[in-house]
């Protein structure tokens, strides 16, 4: 569990191999959107389906990374990150719905016979304000919840249960038509983003690149944090919070900082997810989604920065294959994964690889 040392250890195990593989993966990911721009009859053309699928998985990778920052480093297992993801997605969805509706009201509002926008919809036709909302909505919610939770020293499983209840409550709220976010159906039928056709090849490629950039940026941020004294204090919070307090550190501020940062990252990931997938609805907030994110992190190896990305990629890759090939057995596979990882892979795939490397 020497997580902050993970980077150093990984480098020792084979810095060249690690870097080489990383560079290769990055190169492939950069190539994908470019290949998508090729004409459809070209052999190397990457279909919109593939690009969207990979883009979606990259968004999940950001979520996994964000979750790992709070779970792997600070020891706070959140089962409510889906809520932050969805809030970012909804903020972006508000903008896209306005864009699609032009000067009129978004379609679902006309359907409900509403005549004017609810107050929280004002300004959402402005892309910049929507971006602010993407950050503010999950950020403020995380701030308020975190402030109270950390103040009363809720941690461990209590924290997990509370966050799960939080996302559950959010889901119930967004399911209601009166809440003003399209109820059951959420938002869909987007047409344009910043004036560009949302289904155009160029737009898709640009969104993919933006997602990749966010992922690389978050990864860089993660490295920076993990190497700073801040990262070491977080590990100390995870392992011996009381001792840390007697050293004169106030763990609340540290937890709150990483918690809010993580929520904001999730929100950004959600904001990039929605235009690529084309829909956002309350089921994104279901506790099932959030807890699934935990298994990505656990499978990859928590407390490492690469592990969660690996886990998110593996699980989601498996999921897309299973749901096509054996839809009935996907839940069995996922369930078995949950059990198998906790029983046999406490340090995740990264731990396994590292062990191999050492031998």
């Amino acid at each position: 569990m020497n997580q902050p040392l993970a980077i150093t250890v990984a480098q020792k195990a084979g810095p060249k191999v690690t870097l080489g593989v990383g560079a290769l993966v990055l190169a492939v990911l950069i190539a994908l959107p470019l290949l998508h721009l090729l004409p459809a009859d070209n052999v190397l053309h990457v279909s919109a389906y593939t690009l969207t699928l990979v883009g979606k998985i990259l968004c999940y990778c950001i979520v996994a990374l964000a979750l790992d920052l709070v779970w792997g480093y600070a020891g706070l297992l959140s089962l409510g990150h889906g809520l932050f993801f969805a809030l970012g997605g909804y903020a972006m969805g508000m903008y896209l719905s306005r864009e699609a509706a032009g000067d009129g009201l978004p379609a679902f509002m006309s359907f409900l016979a509403w005549t004017e926008l609810p107050w929280y919809w004002y300004g959402t036709s402005n892309f910049l304000w929507a971006l602010c909302l993407v950050v503010l909505a999950p950020g403020l919610l995380a701030l308020v919840f975190g402030f109270f939770a950390f103040r009363s020293r809720i941690k461990g499983v209590y924290f997990s249960i509370m966050t799960q209840a939080l996302t559950f409550a959010g889901m119930l709220l967004f399911f209601r038509n009166e809440t003003g976010f399209g109820g059951n159906n959420g938002f869909t039928g987007f047409t344009r983003i910043l004036g560009f056709d949302i289904t155009a090849q160029g737009t898709r490629a640009a969104l993919f690149i933006a997602t990749l950039a966010l992922l690389v940026g978050s990864l860089y941020l993660g490295f920076k944090l993990a190497r700073s004294k801040f990262g070491r204090v977080l590990t100390a919070v995870r392992d011996a919070e009381n001792r840390l307090m007697f050293c004169g550190y106030d763990p609340r501020g540290y937890k709150l900082f990483i918690w809010v940062l993580s929520a904001v990252l999730c929100g950004l990931a959600g904001a990039l997810y929605v235009p690529q997938v084309g829909i956002i609805n309350p089921s994104e907030m279901s506790p099932t989604n959030s807890i699934e994110a935990a298994v990505w992190v656990a499978l990859g190896g928590r407390g490492t920065l690469i592990g969660p990305l690996l886990g998110a990629g593996l699980v989601n890759g498996m999921k897309s294959w299973f749901t096509v090939a054996f839809p009935e057995y996907w839940l069995f596979a996922l369930g078995a994964l949950f059990i198998g990882v906790t029983l046999y892979l406490p340090k995740g795939v990264i731990g396994l690889l590292r062990k191999r490397g050492e031998q």
């Binding site: 020497n2 040392l5 700073s228 204090v233 009381n242 001792r243």
Partner: protein
Amino acid sequence: MSSTANPELMLEPAFDPAGSGRDAIGASTAASQGLNIRHGTILTLEDINVSFDGFKALSNLCLYIGVGELRCIIGPNGAGKTTLMDVITGKTRPDNGVAYFGETLDLTRMSEVEIAQAGIGRKFQKPTVFEALSVFENLELAQKTSKTVWASLRARLSGEQRDRIDEVLATIKLDGSRQRPAGLLSHGQKQFLEIGMLLVQDPQLLLLDEPVAGMTDAETEFTAELFKSLARKHSLMVVEHDMGFVGSIADHVTVLHQGSVLAAGSLAQVQADERVIEVYLGR
């Protein structure tokens, strides 16, 4: 019940680490620089009561520790020694009573973090270090510096701080293991690391809960020397069962029994006390 700080035992009451204790008025963080210790008493506990679900852990406890004093607390199991430390460090709130650090800081109103920042360091009974971090990093975290989130984000060790850590590493003889994860240290090494963390934290009052448990005789002896060299510059309160160790360091011993002070004085004095013998031998 009278364990008033003995003026004769207090060495150089005028000594003031920051040199300007007179004009400080207990603001939490800055207080460690200018603790008001005008009357030579660094810790004042009066009529402290603590009860857990009806069980009285401390009852009407009074205790004074002078500036630069090295005080040993002894007492049978369940006498309330650890609870006493919990009260001083803010982990447990007393039901009533007065607890002052210096002249102005009311410990009953401060959080654990504020107390630690004000200058009270604590070593736990079971050695607790940050196992996932290296020995060096443990000391780095404990070091006296600004401990806000912002400061940690931009922290860079200065040459001076690095030297101080190296110095302490040498003192606690963990020089060779500076990059080892603290979780891999032996029990005794962890004890030393924790003591080292207290040293870099540079508190004015050190609370040490059974510091020599699990140490070899040589290590114990070394610790005794270390503590003696710390006294005067710092005030120490040591809880210990090892009478040999107590005898080698203490100038003043307080015996706790059932949550209050049973006897106080030099080790020889308290060892001669009838009541103390009765408590320890259970007659």
